[in-house]
Amino acid sequence: MDRSSLSTKIRRIILEQSKRANVGHIGSALSIADIVAALYGSVLHLPDPADPERDRFILSKGHAVLALYAIFFLNGWITEAQLNTYCGDNTLLGSHPEHALRGIDFSTGSLGMGLSIGAGAALAARLQKSARRVYVLISDAECNEGSTWEAIMFAAHHRLANLIAIVDLNGQQALGYTDKVLSLSPLAERWRAFNWDVHEVDGHNIEAITQIVAGLPATVEKPHVLIAHTTFGKGISFMENQIKWHYLPMSEAEYTQGLREIEAGA
């Protein structure tokens, strides 16, 4: 029986599928592997992907969707045959999430839209007097988008305490490091200034992420944000913090070494 951790399994699938499909976005998916493991492992209330009372999850940084396909497979929501259609023909498993696929609540891919949709979903839950929560995983680069700050203002003004944003703060974006492209520092202070309940966390520490979410104060009538400090390409030494792994597929040698490093780190 495979006794490796959930995030190791996710990372292994990210590598296997990226190699099989010969596509990129590997570093972005590895960056969120532990956050996804925490959320789908023990945070999200998901009795069934179609249950109206389920928690909603929006992967606003849609280009990292392979991490989601991996957990969907591990949860039994998609078959291995479906997983193997990733980036193939006639598939719903493209390189950005599509809501027609069971388990995806909203299609994303255009940055800066997810938090607005999440705020609407959180408002809907409140209007329906439902205890369900809405989780939105955004990238740090998405904080370049003005619409993200529109949503941040709206959620704070309407005290949407059932909305939880997680920022995958890996410090890099498509063409460079965020500090060089459009500085976001100090990011936590900015969210705090917009009246959010701010928590900083190691985005690769599943236990810490789980504990913070479990302990979010119900009495604080503010939306919550986890600033998750992450490493782009986490788990594979030659990918970590390297811009090119936003794009490149792996060679045979890179694939073999990558798998070896994931197993060693398991």
Binding site: P52, R56, H99, D105, F106, S107, G109, S110, G112, M113, L115, S116, I117, G118, A119, G120, A121, A122, L123, A124, A125, L127, Q128, V134, G146, S147, E150, A151, M153, F154, H157
Partner: protein
């Protein structure tokens, strides 16, 4: 049509609790009846139209029917990509309500004009596009379409006083409405500018020319069959819209003529140049762009002289 919209929505919302109204901080002296009756279902999202459409997308997934309200460019152009990737891609029950069709915000200038909204909305498969010609038709159109399964765009005129004689509030999705049965001149018209066309037909009657006006309020789905039927009976058609001549009803008619191989020449009346910075009353600005009753009558008379 603002009053017609709000009064109709209040009536519908009384019967159906799924209806929510969001505004981008506009609608003074217009939205109050809804806001006062349903404070829990009225949301001023602030001057943040992209977010407002995103909110509506999230609300609709949970079963609500959100109406998103603003002046035309702010309702359509600013959040266009949000509309495309949100309500249209998800086929959700979001309703985009743009107020001020064409040049109606006269003195407010070009930033407030709605001159390309039908052009960019009509090209989106899966989006119902409705552009009523007067308040009574707006009410019928909203009642007929508000609960359609997919998204809807309403292009509404600003005032409620304009009336198109003979239209009598008729509306049918995917069809056009005919006013008059003249055999000399055919006008195909979109929006409240139909009242100018109606006035033009009066002038033409004095010159012995009898007109038919075909009103296209259902741009998507387009009234293809009805258009083919009426265009077959005329050798020329004059299309009129307070919209750029490209993308709106003039383009639609041209597409039908070309695709059906009809022997009918289209003469498109609409805004052909960027309005620039010169403003004036609605009458003045419309006249500037050839959309007065007198100018439209002259176009029609000229077309007859040429035949």
């Amino acid at each position: 049509m603002r009053r017609a919209f709000v009064n109709t929505l209040v009536d519908l919302a009384t019967q159906d609790t799924r209806i929510i109204l969001l505004t981008g901080d506009l609608g003074f002296m217009a939205l109050e009846p809804f806001a006062e009756k349903f404070p829990g279902r009225f949301i001023n999202a602030g001057v943040a139209e992209q977010n407002m459409v995103g909110l509506a997308t999230g609300l609709a997934e949970a079963g609500f029917v959100p109406f998103v309200y603003s002046i035309m460019p702010f309702a359509v152009l600013r959040p266009y990509e949000f509309i495309r990737n949100g309500p249209i891609h998800h086929q959700s029950q979001v309703r985009i309500v743009g107020i001020g069709a064409g040049l109606e915000y006269s003195h407010q200038g070009n930033t407030h004009y709605g001159l390309e909204d039908v052009g960019i909305m009509r090209i989106q498969p899966g989006l119902t596009v409705i552009a009523p010609a007067d308040a009574a038709q707006a009410e019928s159109a909203i009642r007929a379409t508000w609960d359609l399964p997919g998204p809807v765009f309403y292009r509404l005129g600003k005032d409620d006083k304009t009336v198109v004689p003979g239209l009598n509030g008729r509306f049918e999705l995917g069809h056009l409405q005919i006013v008059g049965d003249g055999r000399d001149v055919l006008f195909v018209v979109m929006g409240a500018i139909a009242s100018e066309v109606s006035a033009a037909t009066g002038r033409l009657r004095e010159r012995g020319l009898e007109c038919t006006i075909a009103i296209v309020a259902s741009l998507n789905p387009p009234p293809l069959s009805d258009l083919r039927d009426v265009l077959r009976r005329f050798s020329k058609v004059i299309t009129v819209e307070s919209h750029y001549v490209t993308g709106g009803v003039g383009s639609l008619v041209s597409e039908v003529i070309a695709e059906s191989g009809l022997a009918c020449r289209a003469i498109r009346c609409g805004v052909r140049t960027n309005p620039g910075g010169v403003t004036g009353s609605q009458t003045y600005v419309q006249d500037l762009h050839g959309l007065s009753a007198a100018a439209l009558a002259e176009v029609a008379a000229q077309s007859i002289r040429e035949s």
